[in-house]
């Protein structure tokens, strides 16, 4: 039996751009799938197809046991959608927004009001309930948007980049809300550019690039594919970089990576915590002041880079390790610019 969200061979083209190039998904009931990918990878288009907003050119989609193409209105009764841009009416108050959505889910007026009241409390919006949403902070607006998606407690939820643009504190808060939701049994499909977010919230991760799912598994599975742990040292003085590199070379199992501007030295290792202690002792013996040292396991960033050949998001610290990457460097460059073009074209097509 297919899961609460099931897609097979979804294809959607905009002009000559294949935004979806055969997406397959299967999300078991009560689990969270993180759809991870860079801008223009096809995440939003996938969500739009599954939530009846967009008709795929071909393929099959089943949500909550209902055929998305044949029973769109039935599907709409069973899903909640929380968008990338907080889709609430900014001139309506929080309460008015929620009551309106409830009414449009065909709830009776009294029931819609009661449910709005409940959600305003649950999402800590009770104090702001009668203020226009325009006056809300970014975090409050997202919470209101999420509350709107939950008016009928739908069994299946879609969240398109729920925390994009939020500050860390608000992101954390929203994560707690989402976790609470999922522990209640809701099936959730979440798109994100933030690897940390997928890591944090999703049971399973599907990595999307160029309109296809290119990898699928738990966060641990995906990390295991990228392999090894490494030790990272940030020295206090720039002139200590060379010495630190020397020390690490003695303990490491591969090429040293040096980042001059951040004074960061990295080396692949085996042996974990014990080795870390030895390295600290050795650095101490040489009288070096250290700002930071740690044993790093591969992040989803690394996973993404090794799978797609380009980073998922622009970051200050580029991971520059691994010989196998260099082999496909040229290919990677082309890949990256393709993704850029694709996004531009997609936007133009709109």
């Amino acid at each position: 039996m297919p899961g609460a969200i099931y897609a097979e061979g979804l294809v959607k083209t905009f002009g000559d751009v294949r935004a979806l190039d055969g997406v397959d998904l299967d999300v078991p009931e009560g689990t969270v799938l993180g759809l991870l990918g860079p801008n223009g990878a096809g995440k939003t288009t996938t969500v739009r197809c599954l939530t009846t907003l967009l008709r795929p050119d071909s393929g099959k989609a089943v949500v909550a046991g209902l055929d998305v193409l044949r029973q769109p209105n039935e599907v709409r009764r069973s899903i909640g959608l929380s968008g990338q841009f907080a889709a609430v009416d900014e001139y309506l108050t929080g309460r008015e927004n929620l009551v309106m959505v409830g009414r449009l889910y065909q709830m009776r007026a009294a029931a819609a009001k009661a449910r709005a009241e409940e959600l305003l409390h649950q999402f800590h919006l009770a104090d702001a309930a009668d203020r226009p949403a325009k006056t809300y902070s970014g975090g409050m607006r997202r919470r209101l948007d999420l509350a709107a998606a939950l008016v009928v407690s739908p069994p299946v939820m879609f969240m398109d980049e729920p925390t994009t643009g939020l500050d860390p504190r608000n992101r954390q808060q929203l994560w707690e809300v989402i976790k609470g939701l999922v522990s209640g049994g809701t099936t959730l499909l979440l798109t994100t550019q933030y690897l940390e977010e997928a890591d944090h919230l999703a049971h399973d991760i599907a990595v999307v690039d160029h309109g296809r799912v290119i990898a699928r598994g738990t966060s641990d599975h995906l990390k295991a594919r990228t392999g090894g742990e490494r030790v990272e040292v940030v020295v206090h003085e720039r002139e200590h970089i060379t010495t630190a590199a020397e020390v690490l070379r003695g303990f490491g199992k591969g090429d040293i990576t040096v980042e001059e501007h951040t004074r960061r030295v990295t080396v692949p290792v085996t042996g974990g915590a014990k080795l870390l202690a030895e390295i600290i002792r050795e650095l101490d013996t040489r009288g070096m002041e250290i700002d930071d040292i740690g044993l790093r396991r591969p992040t989803l960033d690394d996973v993404f880079l090794s799978l797609t050949g380009h980073a998922a998001e622009r970051k200050d610290e580029e991971t520059g390790e691994g010989g196998d990457e260099d082999a496909s460097a040229g290919d990677r460059g082309r890949h990256g610019s393709d993704a850029g073009n694709r996004k531009n074209k997609k936007e133009a097509a709109r």
Partner: protein, 285 residues
């Protein structure tokens, strides 16, 4: 939280027509609340027609010939039906911009993901615009009375006829907001919807009998003016208000302006509502 096996607490779908009416009213209410929270939009919407009333009455009044008379009183009585009609059609820009704004902000996505009647978002918007148009007409009629406009200036009329004229004006305005809805769904930004909703209205409202006697136009232009749906409503209003300057042309809409106005407006609603709802269903924000 419920699981997949729980039934969602959503009422069974009502009769499709009942649901459509109810959903439309929910959306109309939302738009009216919005308008009440942005009063400056309503006020700016009033300033322009008031300015037209004053400017046309005082600048053109006295130099325009209406039915052989250049009296500025006659021109004022002639002019008001034209200004009223032009004002109601300008609501097009407002509804277009509103819908484009909803698309832009992702609200249309929210609505389209809800199990609501398909046409309700647009119907709700056009109904709210209708309320605003009615309000504007009231204020405008008051200003017109102040500058000297009088019904029954050139014949007999009664309250019923005057109300019927305002009814035709509202129907024309409602029809035009559906054109605006289609424009709003077709453009990328609210700004484009505003200008796209306005530019074509100038030729439509000026190549007509609204501000000048169309009988003085070059023949080909006169034909366009006489068959212009907008002219039919203006002519019908002049007839019902018993104001001067009614066209004596043989063209059918000028001879039967009330019927022509009704038919034109209903046709516009049928055509543009169909097109707009179809567009809405496939709208990609």
């Amino acid at each position: 939280m419920s699981t997949v096996t729980d039934a969602a607490p959503v009422a069974a779908p009502a009769h499709p027509f009942g649901q459509s009416v109810r959903d439309s009213l929910v959306v109309a209410r939302r738009n009216l609340i919005r308008m009440s929270r942005i009063p400056e939009m309503v006020i700016f919407g009033l300033i322009q027609p008031i300015m037209f009333v004053v400017l046309f009455s005082y600048v053109f009044g006295g130099s325009m010939q209406i039915g052989g008379s250049t009296s500025s009183t006659d021109y004022r009585n002639f002019l008001m039906a034209g200004i009223f009609a032009q004002t109601v059609t300008f609501a097009t820009a407002g509804s277009g911009a509103g819908i484009a704004d909803d698309m832009h902000k992702g609200l249309i996505d929210r609505f389209r993901s809800l199990p609501m009647a398909r046409g309700a978002v647009l119907t709700g918007r056009t109904l709210a615009d209708l309320v605003q148009t009615a309000l504007t007409l009231c204020v405008l009629a008051a200003v017109a009375l102040l500058v000297g406009w009088r019904v029954g200036s050139n014949g007999d009329t009664n309250a019923g006829k005057v109300l019927a004229a305002f009814g035709l004006l509202l129907l024309l305005g409602y029809a035009f907001t559906w054109i605006g809805a289609l424009i709003g769904l077709s453009v990328r930004t609210p700004e484009a919807a505003t200008s796209g909703g306005l530019v074509w209205l100038f030729p439509v409202t000026f190549i007509s009998n609204a501000f000048v006697d169309s009988g003085n136009m070059t023949p080909w232009l006169r034909h366009i003016a006489e068959w212009n749906p907008f002219s039919a409503t203006v002519q019908a209003c002049r007839e019902l208000f018993a104001n001067p300057g009614r066209s004596a042309s043989d063209a059918w809409p000028m001879q039967h302006p009330v019927w022509a106005s009704l038919i034109y407006s209903v046709l516009i609603i049928l055509i543009f509502r169909t097109l707009a709802v179809r567009k809405y269903r496939s709208a990609a924000a």
